[in-house]
């Protein structure tokens, strides 16, 4: 193969087109996949945030309805008004068992202000008399209306309602509180979306000793030191490896944030995170969302392979077609001209150039044939040839 031949140059140009075409398709698909995975991650974060809010609102409504029903129960009202703890426990304990099955894990009666101490904990009856002094406690005392929100407490991070509780004469007996562990939400969210979730709590709002005690109660590994600024309160996967976040939870924007895409084995995932606020609107935690986009990735890979194969086949066919055309229209005719020119110079003056077309090469053939005639005529007038004759 001659490196300076037109064939080689055309072949090189077509090979470059092939490389550029395949490279372009790969880059385009990669870009498209990056955009799709970003959109999927964004959709996961937005969807998870919306679902979380829906679950929060649903459970808040449920607990509000339970508290309404409780307030019209004369037995409960009288027992609480009389501050008869054991009677109140006897009356409410069967109901607590049923509510617990429905997810309401925390139920407390609080004494009225200024004491505001815990009068009865249905989920831990032996413990009472302590003051929680949380934002919600202060807020319900200030407003004397139902306060809802997420609050960290000894029993964990829960969505809670706290409302005033009145006796039959309309006098404030104290307050009643219901709470549901937010960790429970993520299991429901996973069952609805298929995505994995992790509930993170900022260490700023969690007491180290409280965390150690909670883990001991729930027989969980103490994971305080796993991350610098947060603890993983609950998650839907056995492993913490998918939860990767190095920033402060307070830096997560209100609408959530899409994190990066990552691969584990053959699976491809996208991560995102959205903030969780307590009743005082502090960013006490965040929900980590992980979506498996392996199916999308696999589909993209298949499309990519198909397109690359199609481009290679198309370019090979184009190469064959272009080279065949060049051969027929240019190279073969040029070779004929060279052959005739060589033979004429070699003494075969009868060789003629066949003009096969009136295209550009045909014009050249015509010109060269005229030149040949002039050349032969010129030779015939030379004395060396005349002498021969």
């Amino acid at each position: 193969m001659k490196w300076n031949s037109i064939r080689t140059k055309v072949l090189a140009a077509l090979a470059s087109c092939l490389v550029l075409g395949v490279g372009g398709i790969l880059a385009l698909l990669q870009y498209s996949f990056a955009r799709n995975s970003q959109a999927l991650a964004s959709d996961s974060v937005a969807g998870a945030q919306k679902l979380f809010q829906v679950l929060e609102a649903r459970e808040t409504s449920k607990m509000a309805a339970v508290s309404e029903t409780l307030m019209i129960d004369p037995q409960v009202r009288d027992a609480f008004a009389a501050k008869d703890r054991s009677r109140l426990l006897d009356i409410t304990a069967p109901l607590y068992t049923k509510l617990k099955a429905e997810g309401i894990t925390n139920w407390m009666f609080h004494a009225p202000e200024p004491d505001m101490a815990v009068f009865l904990r249905l989920h831990n009856p032996s413990k009472f008399g302590d003051r929680l002094n949380r934002f919600m406690d202060k807020e319900v005392v200030r407003t004397h209306a139902m306060v809802t929100g997420n609050e960290l407490a000894k029993a964990g991070f829960a969505v809670r309602i706290l409302r005033p509780f009145y006796d039959s004469k309309g006098k404030l007996s104290g307050y009643v509180e219901f709470g549901e562990e937010i960790g429970r939400f993520i299991k429901e969210m996973k069952s609805q979306t298929g995505d994995d979730y992790g509930l993170l709590l900022s260490k700023k709002f969690v007491d180290r000793q409280f965390w150690a005690d909670s883990n001991a109660v729930w027989k969980r590994r103490d994971n305080w030191d796993d991350n610098p600024s947060f603890v993983v309160a609950d998650k839907t996967t056995p492993s913490d490896s998918i939860i990767q976040f190095q920033q402060e939870l307070a830096s997560v924007p209100n609408r959530g944030k899409v994190l990066e895409r990552f691969k584990t084995g053959d699976s491809v995932f996208v991560r995102g995170i959205f903030p969780i606020y307590d009743a005082a609107r502090n960013t006490v935690g965040a929900m980590f969302v992980v979506r498996d986009i392996s199916a999308v990735y696999e589909s993209m890979r298949k499309t990519q392979n198909l397109l690359v194969a199609l481009i290679i086949v198309a370019m090979l066919l184009s190469t064959v077609l272009v080279l065949t055309l060049l051969n027929r229209l240019v190279f073969r005719r040029l070779e004929h001209i060279i052959d005739v020119a060589t033979r004429v110079v070699g003494g075969d003056y009868e060789s003629e150039i066949k003009i096969s077309s009136d295209d550009e090469i045909g014009q050249f053939e015509h010109l060269f044939e005229q030149f040949r005639c002039v050349f032969v005529d010129l030779l015939s007038h030379l004395p060396e040839f005349q002498n021969k004759e």
């Binding site: 060589t342 110079v345 040839f385």
Partner: protein, 65 residues
């Protein structure tokens, strides 16, 4: 006889001896050297540059030293 003509005769002999397409080989040599072999006669004046070109062409195409 000139050296140029002598070389031409050797070329013609070689072509004949090798049974080559005489017209084609003569044409190739002519195109390489810029000279028509038929026009080289015993009286053609020697030109060192032309002799060198013809020698080179003979070597390349016929392996003639």
């Amino acid at each position: 006889m000139s050296a140029l003509y002598d070389l031409k005769v050797r070329i013609e002999d070689k072509i004949k001896a090798d049974g080559l397409d005489a017209v084609k080989v003569r044409g190739q040599i002519g195109l390489r050297t810029g000279r028509i072999l038929a026009l080289i006669t015993p009286g053609t004046a020697d030109d060192p540059a032309a002799v060198a070109k013809l020698k080179q062409a003979a070597k390349d195409l016929l392996n003639l030293n």
